[in-house]
């Protein structure tokens, strides 16, 4: 794995106003495959303030998972990560193993999608969730066990003392996910990245999970990056939303702004495709076509092939990088259509 911070700022965070907790600039993740280089994430940038939650929305293949993995250095061996990401001024990209391990769990923790496969089948749950913590603090087995029970209780698992000794396959799906959240909490991180943690759960359990996350956020002031493709979750949880398509950020803004007036045609399409209970709908709208299979870097807009509006501009959408246009209250979208908003000066694709 190689990862390099960008040449311009080797390690020092750019000075900013009320310094956000997480600053990501031009994060790029590419894979070398048998078919050539594939760009999973293409120059994505955003900020996240402490205690806030950002939902990263997109279809499968949009690069949202790859991006979140890259922040923790958990991407695959044949991935190349470029760009910068600062957590409280500390560079996350391209650092050595020791530094990475120091950040993982303590400053950033991750909650994965499928708890059954994410947990080791042969070790008891209690042992697993405090493994990192125990190693760091050198705590005894009893202390670690007690902490595990404490964590499990906090995430709402009944009979925690019993449960801590059980194995992952003995838990229900919802409980397993809670256990994963407990694991993420164990190091008391400043930021939690959750990669579609609720996708595999049914709706009621999902709701409980979201409630739990929100509680925890409020309680501990943890920032949250929540990757999902489910707009209902987004509506519930997000302070801010980042829409990704084909590896690129296509729109970024506060939840209210985006729901009220989505600027990018893709975001619009997403909003429109969610069936609404309060209005009769003639047909279910879908965005025709499927997400792109990513080649190397493309020049134009990644959505060009599917965009219903692209033909209006000839082949501009396919050939030219769309400019940044401003919406409500700091919202930005990358589109050629004038109605997406007035063009705002590019500051190296900053948020």
């Amino acid at each position: 794995m190689t990862a390099r911070p960008s040449a311009s700022s080797p390690g020092a965070a750019p000075a900013a106003g009320a310094a956000p907790l997480l600053r990501v600039r031009d994060l790029t993740v590419s894979f070398t495959t048998a078919h050539g280089t594939v760009l999973a994430v293409d120059r994505v940038s955003f900020d996240l303030a402490s205690g806030r939650s950002l939902c990263v929305v997109g279809e499968s293949g949009s690069g949202k998972s790859a991006m979140s993995l890259a922040l923790l250095g958990l991407h695959d061996r044949n991935a190349r990560v470029h760009g910068d990401a600062w957590l409280d001024g500390q560079q996350l990209i391209g650092v050595d193993a020791k530094q990475r391990n120091a950040t993982r769990g303590t400053r950033i923790a991750m909650v994965f999608q499928d708890a059954l496969s994410a947990l080791h089948p042969y070790f008891p749950v209690g042992k697993q969730i405090v493994a990192g913590w125990r190693r760091r603090t050198g705590a005894s087995r009893q202390a670690a066990g007690a902490y595990a029970v404490e964590l499990l209780t906090r995430v709402g698992i009944p009979n925690a003392t019993e449960r801590a000794k059980s194995y992952p396959h003995q838990f229900s799906g919802g409980m397993r996910q809670r256990a994963m959240i407990a694991m993420a909490l164990s190091g008391e991180p400043d930021l939690i990245i959750a990669d579609e943690p609720t996708t595999a759960l049914d709706v009621t359990v999902q709701a409980q999970m979201l409630e739990l996350l929100q509680d925890l956020q409020r309680e501990r002031g943890t920032a949250l990056v929540f990757v999902t493709h489910d707009l209902a979750v987004v509506a519930e949880l997000a302070d801010e939303i980042m829409v990704m398509y084909g590896g690129r950020k296509v729109e970024l803004g506060s939840r209210d702004a985006i729901f009220a007036s989505p600027r990018h045609p893709y975001t619009r399409g997403l909003m429109d495709s969610v069936p609404r209970l309060d209005r009769p709908v003639a047909r279910l709208l879908a965005i025709p076509g499927s997400p792109p299979v990513l080649p190397g870097r493309i020049d134009g807009c990644p959505f060009a092939a599917r965009c219903p509006r692209a033909p209006e501009l000839g082949d501009r959408c396919a050939r030219e990088l769309p400019p940044r246009r401003a919406g409500l209250a700091g919202q930005s979208a990358f589109c050629h259509l004038p109605e997406a908003g007035p063009i705002v000066a590019e500051e190296a694709h900053g948020a």
Binding site: L74, A102, R135
Partner: protein, 309 residues
């Protein structure tokens, strides 16, 4: 199962025309009367099923009955089979156990190290070597080892165990070292490969990613998480192989002239020494079964998903 095995074995050997056991029992100078007498005492003139029943009794693992002396009495050497097995088994046991310790340790090590850097030089080297050792039969490696280490370099003892040496002394004299190496090489090649594959699979698993996300250093992730997951299929393999080997490795024992169970079985079969054959068949099957049982228990211990709560 044991029943079926012994029944079949017996049937086949019974049907094979391999000279008159009674005659062999008595020896060269014998008169027809003596032969007839012996035949009668051995019960050879009894019908098939009666003969078999006597053997069948010997399968029951009750101390008085198991491979009881009266029935399991070698035709050739006129010694109870049980005694002979007791004599031979330690040799085989030392051979197999020693080799097992060696091969398990080495293959785990090699497998782990290769998996950590797949495609790297160490890995590719060991892969080729592994394929090589899997392809060469043990008797050839045996020869090679003997040639270079004993004949040329003179650092290893030659073949065989002198009759005045006990197994323990032989062990101390290092007579087992070459056989251990020989036997291990093949299995190391096999097990290292499997270990490597299993560890790689574990390393690719989601659970490894989770462990890493906790900030656990790589060597803990590999040594504890990945290895633990990789072990389980290996345990099954090992159990089967070990159990089978304890029944005697004929080729190694032949090459190195070790008076073990394998050679004994071989000779018994060649000479159609039916009680001996039956005895060893029962004994080896029993051992195999016991090993399988132990493996099952071990497996449940290692993989909690198997356990019935």
């Amino acid at each position: 199962m044991l029943w079926l095995v012994s029944l079949l074995t017996f049937s086949i050997f019974f049907l094979l025309p391999s000279g008159d056991p009674a005659q062999r029992f008595v020896g060269r100078d014998s008169t027809p009367e003596t032969i007839a007498q012996v035949k009668q005492s051995l019960g050879l003139d009894e019908p098939f099923y009666e003969q078999y029943l006597k053997f069948a009794k010997g399968i029951v693992p009750v101390p008085g009955w198991f491979l009881d002396e009266k029935v399991y009495f070698s035709y050739n050497t006129s010694v109870p089979v049980r005694e002979q097995i007791a004599e031979r088994f330690p040799v085989t046991a030392v051979l197999v156990i020693g080799a097992a310790v060696l091969w398990v340790g080495v293959s785990l090590l090699i497998g782990l190290l290769s998996a950590v850097r797949p495609g790297g030089r160490f890995d590719r080297c060991t892969q080729w070597l592994g394929l090589l050792f899997v392809s060469v039969p043990t008797f050839v490696t045996g020869y090679l080892l003997l040639y270079f280490l004993w004949f040329k370099a003179g650092i290893a003892p030659g073949t065989g165990i002198p009759s005045d040496e006990s197994v323990w002394t032989a062990f101390l004299n290092g007579r087992f070292v070459l056989p251990w190496i020989c036997l291990s090489l093949f299995f190391i090649a096999l097990y290292a490969r499997t270990t490597r594959r299993n560890v790689l699979e574990m390393l690719r698993a989601d659970s490894t990613r989770t462990a890493r996300s906790q900030g656990l250093p790589e060597r803990v992730v590999v040594g504890k998480h990945a290895l633990r997951g990789a072990l389980v299929p290996l345990v099954t393999m090992f159990g089967l192989d070990f159990g089978a080997l304890l029944g005697g490795t004929v080729t190694i024992e032949t090459v190195f002239n070790l008076p073990g169970l394998g050679q004994y079985t071989f000779n018994a079969v060649i000479d159609a020494d039916i009680p001996a054959v039956m005895g060893t068949a029962v004994f080896t099957s029993a051992i195999a079964l016991v090993t399988v049982l132990i493996v099952d228990v071990l497996y449940a211990y290692l993989d909690p998903r198997i356990r019935v709560t």
